[in-house]
Subunit: 80 residues, 2 copies
């Protein structure tokens, strides 16, 4: 069994209102010096596949088809 972590983040330049809200909330809580905050998503996936190359190809296909909107988001796949 292969475990993988997929991280999906917004591309640079794409507005992230949720990240902005977190920035303001952190400042309001007294954390000084907080710069840019960007929020993304993480998916921990278990695969019954044993071939690492095949698993990685499958995971990338999952991102392209379902997990990420590649117009505005980047993704990275890490086998763990």
């Amino acid at each position: 069994m292969i475990k993988a972590r997929i991280t999906v983040t917004l591309k640079n330049g794409v507005l992230d209102p949720q990240g902005k809200a977190i920035e303001h909330a952190l400042s309001g809580l007294g954390f000084d010096g907080v710069g840019l905050v960007r929020q993304g998503k993480v998916f921990d996936v278990e695969l019954s596949e044993s071939d690492k190359a095949k698993a990685e190809a499958d995971l990338k296909a999952m991102c392209d088809k379902l997990l990420a909107n590649t117009v505005i988001e980047n993704y990275s796949v890490t086998l763990t």
Copy 2:
């Protein structure tokens, strides 16, 4: 300036309906052998702090106070 990535994931045993929905959607798309899927959140934070130990302590405090619900979620902080 320090950049950090905070990853917030649900603790084991906490129900994750969103992860379950993704499992079913992936099966429906023809991906066989997909086991457990768990969804979490990721925050990329920039700090103007230069002291790494202080930054890490601040980031952990941010997680405890705002970014994670420590009753049901784990978090990890990585300086990048």
